[in-house]
């Protein structure tokens, strides 16, 4: 008989760094487009899994010695392969016992209708602007659950000011995946107070000044994630040559919205992305690295 203990033991065996089980009631009040009960109406709980991204991958980016391994191994591989294989194995365990297992990997390239943000990790994202509900009472597809909220419901961590999840063991160096299920599992309490103490280190570290009081401006982030800043080691004099706004851009002073960000994307082409659709991170995830250093110094990890 499947139970929470077996789920957790298997998850760790299959490669998760942390696992938690949250009561589906923890999503009460969320938008239907973010509600896991719109995916599995009789869901009882959600199982959350964290995957460790090796710390050394951040180090080589911040020391400007290597960038591609982070994107290829730490982002693309974990989201596209590892988490999917992992979820299929975990889901089979649950379905073997006659319960539903709705796998939720990171839907990196889609945004629900009405969400105008982007995912800086990808060449671009697609907002499902034409989606329509298939029946009265249903939300427009795709329903994409809020991973940060789900992680908090599962007791795994809570998002910091940068909008990235911070977990006690891993800090912000992690990726997530979930399973929505009707299996009656013993749930963990939701995560308590966030580890983020609003120190501002993440905002100060961002070369594009993308983190403000209202969180991260994802379009601004996307421009500097892919290297529009002067500390980019691949920066050349040819970049935006002749553009009167060049200095403003590389200093991180220009503000980009969706249109202006997309307009400059093709000019920010320092490392390969076409073969995978994943943008190499040239800011070195400075926000997360600064956050990690701060939390380490505080001794809370």
């Amino acid at each position: 008989m499947i139970n929470a203990e077996i789920i957790k033991q298997k998850a760790l065996e299959y490669g998760a760094a942390a696992v938690g089980i949250g009561d589906i009631a923890g999503f009460a009040g969320v938008s239907p487009q973010r509600d896991p009960k719109m995916i599995l109406p009789h869901a009882k709980c959600i199982i959350g899994f964290l995957f460790r991204v090796p710390r050394a991958l951040f180090r080589t980016m911040n020391e400007h010695t290597q960038f591609m391994q982070y994107t290829q191994v730490g982002v693309k591989y974990i989201d596209e392969d590892l988490s999917e294989i992992f979820l299929l194995k975990m889901g089979a365990l649950i379905e073997n016992e006659g319960y539903d297992a709705c796998l939720q990997r990171n839907i990196s390239n889609l945004r629900i209708k009405g969400d105008h943000s982007t995912n800086p990790e990808l060449v671009d994202t697609y907002e499902l602007v034409n989606a329509e509900p298939v029946a009265p009472g249903k939300p427009a597809p795709d329903v994409i659950i809020d991973f940060n909220l789900a992680a908090a419901v599962c007791g795994l961590g809570r998002a910091g000011d940068s909008g990235h999840l911070i977990a006690p063991k891993l800090g912000p160096f992690l990726r997530m995946a979930f399973i929505v299920t009707d299996a009656p599992l013993v749930c963990d309490p939701p995560f308590g107070a966030p580890l983020c103490d609003h120190c501002g280190a993440c905002a100060a570290a961002c070369p594009g000044k993308a983190i403000g009081e209202e969180g991260t401006d994802t379009w601004q982030c996307a421009v500097y994630y892919r290297g529009a800043h002067k500390s980019n080691p691949f920066m050349t004099e040819q970049f935006l040559a002749g553009d009167p706004e060049r200095e403003q851009v590389i200093e991180g002073e220009k503000h980009f919205d969706r249109e202006s960000a997309r307009a400059i994307y093709k000019k920010i082409d320092f490392l390969p992305s076409r073969s995978t659709g994943y943008i190499p991170c040239i800011c070195g995830r400075a926000c997360d690295a600064a956050c990690y250093r701060h939390l380490k110094e505080k001794g809370v990890l």
Binding site: R52, P54, L57, R59, T60, L271, S275
Partner: protein, 310 residues
Amino acid sequence: MKALKEKLIAELKKCGTDLVRCGRAEDMRDGGVKKLFPEARTVICVLFRQLRGTRRGIEEGSVYYQYTTSVETVEEVMLPGALLRGCWVLEEAGFEALPQRRYQLVMQEKEGTNFEVAYDEIYRGLESETVLDFEKCAVDCGAGEIGLSGSLLTDDFGPSQRWGFIITDAELPPDEVVTPHLCDRCGECIKACPGHALSAEGKRNDWQCAAYYKGANRSKNPFMPPNAFEDDPERLKIISGEADLSPEKAKEILELIRFYPPVKHAMVASMCGRACDTACYVHLEEKGVLKRKFRTPFRKRPVWELPIEE
């Protein structure tokens, strides 16, 4: 540290890894190791075999797709998974661990190419992106020796493996560096190349290799139409593998070889099937020097060849 190494190897084997070898970081001839990780103490070489059966289709001239997709799956799926698992074991033990998979779309050199990937997808001259010499590091980890063609040869699989590394500050017991003993410089690799891309000394002309890896030799490419390169005055030389290609000419030819779809991740479908390595494997198998034995030899009949039509 012996226990940690054993645990690490056990976890890597669970991920399908065939061989694990450890070298001392200070013994690495590639300065990139210390550039990436100045405090590194050990470089762990994680090797996956390339199944002999993946070469069978090209050997028989019957199926080409399986060879390159198997390479792609090992490089893009199996290896990163094992490397991450190894890193997690080391991080759990309190050490830093940096995974290194082969990533061929970035080169520090301003010229040149990597024959396994589309030449026009490569970003060149990127000195800030450290790229390790995988062959050299594998040798320094004790994984094997370098053969005449430049391929890594191991006692277990000859020239048939793919590999990556974990660089760590954990001081794991090192393995012995192998004294070269497999390659007898027989020259079979040189003879087998359908594009004569290897010199008598085994130096590879990367552009020549890229063109013939992708299938410029008609006698080894069953997908080439009769009118291929018909406007080229050197057509016969090209399709018989006798042309001496400059980088520009090789690019021109690579653009025209569109007889078979590419594999994912910018990988080029191999038409030669790495004939150099296959010939090497056949030779080593015949000599009986490989540890892994099969019930029947790989080469079961004479090598096939299509006629070259003028």
